[in-house]
Symmetry: C3
Subunit: 334 residues, 3 copies
């Protein structure tokens, strides 16, 4: 079983992961993955993900193997290609070889941000998922960041108790750089999976990919919640119990950094104390790293409503619960 998106787990499985995470967080983790070898492949930088996976695996009795892209070669993703260019190894071979050494392969690979149609294929992680013979876990790909979403779910459960019927707002926010959509996509989807009334708040033109939004809407409705898009931030914030802030570059602006930058400069979507006051005493969430006083003010980040550190801490606990689910069986110790 792979974990590429939170859609890969049923509602029952999700509940079971969150319950195991809560227990492990409370009672401490037992070395149930002793002798397991888990590879962490980073094609992009990481602080939280890298440290939380490593620390979590160690607490589970395993010894993590972290690999940076610079340790290795450029991978070819297209089947049948004549490899006389810059790629040195086919993902087919890399995935099959690593499967002989490792019990699971965790991968971080950001989008190229040049062409959304290309990014949307999520070719690297899909290539590993297709060819690996051990579980593949997504540590943030072009499309999804499902481990962040598990931590978000655990945090919302801790903060709200029952999440069904509560109001979740994902709000676009200012930021000086072009940013991918994996976190917002996964945040919307997990909120929908938890039966929340999901609101996407973003400036006109900054809507996320329509296929993703359709998936979110269908999931929300199926779970007894709802989905709506708001170009008016104030309207979206009214009555909200969760404000999840994040900046992103929408599909229509991928590959057009100058246009995106020009548009961003005119927008005032920073989350402030005044905006938070419009909500129903909402908790403030962000995946970190966060640009202070650009995405959100210090006042909000350092307020009692901010749960950003709790959210980050929950990365480790929810990932550990996931790892136990995927690898908890017998080790292939040979």
């Amino acid at each position: 079983m792979n974990f590429i998106s939170t859609a890969d787990v049923t509602g029952k499985e999700l509940a079971s992961i969150l319950s195991a995470a809560t227990l492990g967080k409370k009672q401490g983790w037992k070395p149930k993955l002793k002798g397991k070898t888990v590879g962490l492949l980073f094609f992009n930088p990481s602080l939280r993900t890298r440290t939380s996976f490593q620390a979590g695996l160690i607490k589970l009795g395993s010894v993590p193997i972290a690999l940076s892209a610079t340790d290795s070669w450029a991978l070819e993703l297209i089947d049948g290609s004549i490899m006389d260019g810059s790629t040195a190894e086919h993902v087919k071979d890399a995935a099959r070889v690593l499967s002989t050494y490792l019990d699971a392969i965790c991968i971080r690979s950001f989008p190229g941000m040049k062409d959304w149609d290309d990014d949307k294929k999520d070719a690297l992680i899909q290539g590993f998922a297709k060819h690996a013979t051990v579980p593949v876990i997504n540590m943030e790909s072009c499309l999804w960041h499902p481990c962040q979403a598990l931590a978000d779910a655990l945090t919302m459960q801790e903060v709200l108790g029952k999440t069904k019927g509560k109001t979740f707002v994902l709000s676009w926010a200012n930021h000086p750089r072009q940013l991918p959509m994996a976190v917002p996509n996964s945040a919307l989807l997990i909120a929908a999976q938890m039966g929340m009334n999901v609101r996407l708040a973003c400036p006109k033109g900054y809507e996320l990919d329509s296929d993703i939004l359709n998936q979110v809407k269908q999931t929300a409705v199926k779970q007894g919640g709802s989905f709506s898009t708001h170009n008016d931030q104030a309207e979206a914030f009214k009555g909200a119990q969760i404000i999840y802030a994040k900046s992103w570059t929408p599909p229509v602006l991928v590959g057009k950094p100058d246009e995106d930058t020009k548009l961003r400069k005119k927008l005032s979507w920073t989350i402030t104390k005044e905006k938070m006051a419009m909500t129903n005493n909402a908790a403030f969430m962000h995946c970190l790293p966060v640009r202070r006083n650009v995405v959100v003010t210090d006042e909000v980040l350092d307020s009692k409503q901010s749960v950003i550190i709790q959210q980050a801490e929950n990365r480790m606990h929810s990932q550990n619960a996931l790892l136990l689910k995927l690898l908890g069986g017998k080790s292939k110790s040979k």
Copy 2:
């Protein structure tokens, strides 16, 4: 005891390593190296070597310490030099210091590819071998890749049963880049050590270093085999039981990339289904990473004759057997 080349082990020792590898692969590895600290120093990128050594050591109960060259300083290799240039530490000091922390030092250091006389000295690994007070293991140097050769030997034993008297062909193949000779040197030598009839197939002018070839020839004859060079690929493939493909830049073309590139473009040495049909149902081998449809076609790589994944998997098992041989005694746990 160091392991710089497979010539460092006797026929009996080689048989014993392969036998331990087979047993470990079948029954699983026991934590016999618990408390041992093995350093993996990478002066060049690595995927298979890095992951197989790390995973293997973990299965043996150890915790590997992987270090990239970028983590450290440039090393001085010449005795008595006045170090007022770019090198910050003498290999003499680095090797002695690391020996106080580690139970073994494994090193990957590729050739400079500017001057063969210089590369042939293999100064970095020889410097470590001279000054370290713990075993030094070669994870691919300018001259040799003996850990790859152990995996090759294990794979040939699995595929052929008895290797003595079987026909082994190392064939040069097309590739867009200049490549070192460590893998082909070690592949020829291990085949000779296993008593095989060893054939080197390469375009005229692409012959490997003559000292190495003499060592291969003498070893083959001593073990009851033979050695021959063929500039006609078809002639070499006739009756072969192993086809081992690899591209390299020969000694005479080291430092002359333009000339090498120009010559390569005229050559048609890609391994194809048609060429494989000339053999005695040979197994196809390659050390990976492999440029698909340049070195060898997809058809061959994905055929039943291809043992490339088995070969890669055997890296870990043969290395574990080697590590147990070199470090299996008492730990210096202090």
Copy 3:
């Protein structure tokens, strides 16, 4: 408790750390830190520090988590700043998040060498010390290298027995590059803490920061020793029992590399056999890496008086004793 400078430990605590280091070096280390997760954050390259911390932690039963700066983002160090520039995460958030995964945070962060007033703030490690909720250990900051100093102290105790009243000389030495002051600062301070007669030997204009020198002087006097500065190397070496060589760029030349380089070229402060002959059979010390035949001649480095390898080996043992002191209690295994 943090360990930013050796001034953070009392004389009694220092003696206890050295005593534990001696015992561990003699008898071997026990896995007392099993289940602890220690993060090693390297914002700069490292060979000895990285390997000694990793090997040491493994011998203590822990699994170290080493992170290179390239794995992560640039950190913002100023409170209240509007983060629309190059920094992606505030040290406040990074320190608090890492504290939820790790039992201790070890940090290496060299000075910028542009502006001494700025370097002197030691903002990165001070930021971590302020915001982390677990112990912070300095693996060399702008101002201090206290783990090196612990190893120096252990080595001097091994070499001299009683250190009180013995003569310690820190001598500036030639070197082609601009270098920071952390090692010389910590070497002087630890010698003072051990009650030695501390002499700083350096060319006129190469004196260390006056606040640091005042702290050294006060500490030396308090411990029954003394402190003096000598611009005449020969005068300083007379009767010395320890010669500790190190090059550095003094506060007045930070940010002025051309002026520093010009001045250095006129100086002949290389440590030679002839200079060592002026001492009271002094042991020769250096923190490594050392530029042979620039800082000091091969003759001295390879003589019986040289204790550089012993000094490097002691890094691991003194650090292990420190880690046990800071983390020896109950694990937060959750």
